[in-house]
Amino acid sequence: MCTECGCSSTDHSHHHEHESRTIRVEEDLLAKNNRLAAGNRQLFTSSHLLVLNLVSSPGSGKTSLLERTLADLKRRFNFSVLEGDQQTTNDADRIAATGVPVKQLNTGAGCHLDAHMVGHGVESFDLAETDILMIENVGNLVCPAAFDLGEDHKVTVLSVTEGEDKPLKYPQMFQACDLMLINKIDLLPYLNFDLEQCKAFARQINPRIEIMELSCQTGAGMQQWYDWLMAGVARKNPGRRGAGRE
């Protein structure tokens, strides 16, 4: 077969009468990722999974949030965790220490996880036995905003050391998220971080965003987040006995 044009000729010196013409494509640039994400979402929904895509700047506390959440809730819910980083298995090692199934995805030069990586990443998990799949994205407030992984919600972690204007500087990300967790509030006494201003900026970008304040270090404010998770599990899996209740 002629590999150049896909025709069935074996004679590569043949000539085609090609004519210049315009063809309609009308495809979203993210169409391929969106198709794969839709496939992931279908799989997750049929397994009654709550799936969260955690996004933030590097170091805001995504892994710390997971460590604390898993320690507190792993007896109540079955978790699986995907860890996205450009390099290292450091974060997956931290999660593995909690005893929860985890898989590290290294993106190399890539600045975000995509639906294809996630689709393969979950292959080793027993999804039917999982209640909550946590996907920690690469620390980056820009690129992960555009890439649907098949999650129910994007959740952003913003730490108070980053400045209250982050929602204005990275609006796409804050618009894409359903929940913003303001982390490291134990540090507020040492900083000039204007909490109310930060929330107002986030709501300016995304009027529907939910906002919670917490500290993964001291545990302050964690209960509200746990309640939100329990409500999410109950929504995804109404038949699950005990969800949302102690």
Partner: protein, 120 residues
Amino acid sequence: MTFGHDPLHELSLTQNIVDLAIEYAAREKAVKVLSITLEIGALSGVVAEAVEFAFDVCSKGTLAEGANLEIRHVSGRGRCLDCQTETEIETLTHLCPHCGSLALETVQGQEMKFTEMEID
């Protein structure tokens, strides 16, 4: 730094553009891609210049090498959730000019679309 100025971001989107162009060109048994038309919204976070730059890199050695890239700008539009007025907006950090509300919902300008291409 404005949003979208992470060249890696445009690089992966542009790779998608080239992949799509090659896929369609092969299906149409084309020997060359002459031009590609994209629509990029003002609120998409994608920087057109970065796509143009990345295109030269991504298309090298493919049917799309040397194709003319036409990028059409789609302006942004927002609807006020408080008074329902629609206005043109070029950023996501905009106030409703009618009532001053911060609660604007995007109705247009987030597209990143491969609309058509010319092939030979």
